[in-house]
């Protein structure tokens, strides 16, 4: 019986020739990462409960301050200080304010075939490079940071066969919203979502990360795309050579296979307060907005910023709407500066923020008030996610957010490009 990419990565990590869904394995972890959303608790567990002295391998542990940065309170500053001191003491790579953790990991650390455990649900993003990332909580993370190992149950795999090509104004973001709308917020619970099909060769790394990043919004343990020459070029051009290229066998077993044709896809919108309440923008009806946000680990990369800038160039946003843009990393920010995109965002009336989780996390920046409506390229639209418990979040592509910021209501970006 053949194996899927995910099964092959888990087999390698557990030193086995073959693994099957349902099997519990002990796997060796290639990398682990934690951010300021939970690291202060992890350090408490590490030092006071585990009474551990050393991390398993300082080269394989990464701390990234990206959630509340720069700190908005003295208490948050204490959390960051605690991380900084621990990172220095244990000589582990430490990033502060240089980008959303997953984007930094993709730019600086990930290679195909790795198993990565991180204390953040969107760790599944790394499947865009053919690596198996999965999110855990503090206790699991801290145990991994100490031992380099974790127990995992081998998940079933769902296959998504993507054919056709995107029409103008339609993006990978719309595809993943469509898929989550179809299968539901627990449609892939405990499973791997593997994205393939003839269209995948035309998906950039940014596109692939968009798909894999939101796998967790359907409950998935991980999202994966078969690594090809595009993925290999991405990592080798950044100086990383050692990798394991796994491809699914022809006789690999999938729990279910879904077919999607990009030719039929339109811009999609997830309505409040669940990521699976998804409709085409043309079926939405009139929705007035108070704020737009472009950024996050899902949709703050250079291609999304270009798509937004294309729509905003030479225009002014609605005077009663705020538009906030946070490039996903310093690298993305510098690229956007070089391409003149930041000029376009500022001139149209937008506010460009430092690279961080920003509005998507709803804690330190661009928080919305009672009764307000946000349209966002973030990962979630849960009740209260962006601020007041009685506020609303719609999710859409960067192009749809940009078009909506111009008109003050949720707007189809097609025809504005």
């Amino acid at each position: 019986m053949g194996m899927t990419i995910g099964e092959k990565i888990l087999a390698r990590a557990s030193g086995k020739a073959l693994v099957k869904p349902g099997e519990i394995i002990t796997a060796k972890v290639d990398l682990c990462m934690s951010n300021d959303g939970t690291t202060h608790l992890n350090i408490d567990i590490f030092e006071n409960q585990l009474k551990a002295e050393k991390v398993f391998d300082p080269r394989k542990v990464v701390f990234i301050v990206d959630h509340n940065v720069p700190s908005e309170s003295a208490k948050t500053a204490e959390v960051h200080k605690k991380m900084r001191i621990f990172a220095q003491k244990h000589n582990i790579p430490f990033y502060e304010g240089t980008g959303v953790c997953h984007q930094i990991m993709i730019e600086d650390f990930i290679v195909p075939g790795q198993l990565i455990i991180a204390a953040d649900s969107h760790t599944c993003s790394y499947g865009g490079l053919g690596a198996f990332g999965t999110g855990v909580g503090c206790t699991d993370f801290t145990s991994v940071m100490n031992t380099g190992e974790i127990w995992l149950m081998v998940p079933e795999t769902l296959k998504f066969e993507i054919e056709g090509s995107f029409k103008s104004g339609v993006y990978a973001r719309d595809l993943i919203l469509k898929i989550i709308g179809d299968i539901g917020a627990n449609g892939a619970n405990y499973k791997i979502m593997e994205f393939g099909g003839s269209a995948m060769k035309n998906f950039t790394i940014d596109d692939r990360v968009v798909l894999c990043n939101m796998a967790v919004e359907a409950g998935a343990k991980s999202g994966l795309v078969e690594p090809d020459e595009i993925a290999i070029e991405y990592v080798t051009s950044r100086g990383r050579q050692d990798m394991h290229i796994f491809k699914s066998d022809d006789d690999a077993v999938y729990e279910k296979t879904y077919q999607y044709n990009l030719d039929e896809l339109e811009p999609m919108v997830a309505r409040p307060h669940c990521v699976d309440d998804v409709v085409g923008v043309t079926q939405l009806g009139e929705v007035k907005i108070d704020q737009g946000f472009i950024g996050s680990c899902n949709n703050g990369r250079i291609e999304e910023l270009r798509a937004a800038a294309q729509i905003l160039k030479g225009k002014k946003i609605n005077p009663y709407v705020k538009l906030l843009i946070s490039p996903a990393s310093k690298t993305v920010y510098l690229q956007a500066l070089a391409e003149g995109l930041i000029d376009i965002f500022v001139e149209c009336g937008g506010m460009v923020l430092n690279p961080n989780c920003s509005v998507c996390w709803g804690s330190c920046q661009g928080v919305i008030g009672e009764g307000e409506t946000l349209i966002s390229t973030g990962t979630r639209n849960f009740k209260g996610r962006a601020g007041h418990p009685n506020s609303s979040v719609y999710l859409a592509s960067a192009a749809t957010v940009a078009a909506s910021a111009l008109t003050g209501k949720i707007t189809d970006p097609r025809g504005r490009i």
Partner: protein, 163 residues
């Protein structure tokens, strides 16, 4: 050995996400004791002040969806919640709850008939749930042996420290 738990029910719906259990803006407070007063703030603002030690959360499908924040099961445990019963759990919440020693029980049937403030008796070992208020019995999914061992040790840290 995990005792049989008896407690009063707090019933919630489907897709109770971790932002509703404990919103993002409280996660960077220094410790769980400071966070717990905000538990379920968006769903039931009186929950944190009125929940009693031993009470049981009952949820529908996909309980604990969303972020990986371990603060979600931690605040429930800190408020004295003795177990969470749901039709299904989101993966990371389920794992986190086990890792901190909070019993999580999967049962498809109990949800539809249980009412707020009913009293449930849960036996994790046997995989049984009794609704004592209406005298009905249900079975729950048994946990894999490895997972049960972690729960028995009071969580992953206790389990690792035993080794």
């Amino acid at each position: 050995m995990i005792r049989v738990m008896t407690g009063k029910v707090w019933k919630f719906g489907n897709d109770v996400d971790t932002d509703q259990i404990i919103p993002s803006q409280y996660l960077l407070l220094p410790n769980v004791e400071e966070m717990k007063q905000y538990t379920f703030e968006t769903l039931d603002k009186d929950f944190a002040s009125t929940v009693c030690s031993g009470d049981i959360i009952v949820g529908g499908e996909n309980f604990g969806s969303g972020s990986s924040r371990e603060q979600a099961p931690l605040v429930l445990k800190a408020l004295g919640v003795s177990a969470v019963v749901a039709k299904s759990f989101a993966r990371i919440f389920f794992r986190n709850a086990i890792n901190i020693g909070l019993p999580v029980v999967i049962c498809k049937e109990v949800y539809d008939t249980v009412k707020q403030k009913d009293t449930l008796e849960i036996d994790v070992q046997k995989g049984t749930i009794k609704n004592l208020t209406v005298d009905k019995n249900f079975t729950s999914t048994k946990l894999p042996a490895h997972v049960m061992n972690i729960l028995e040790a009071g969580g992953l840290i206790g389990f690792l420290n035993q080794k």
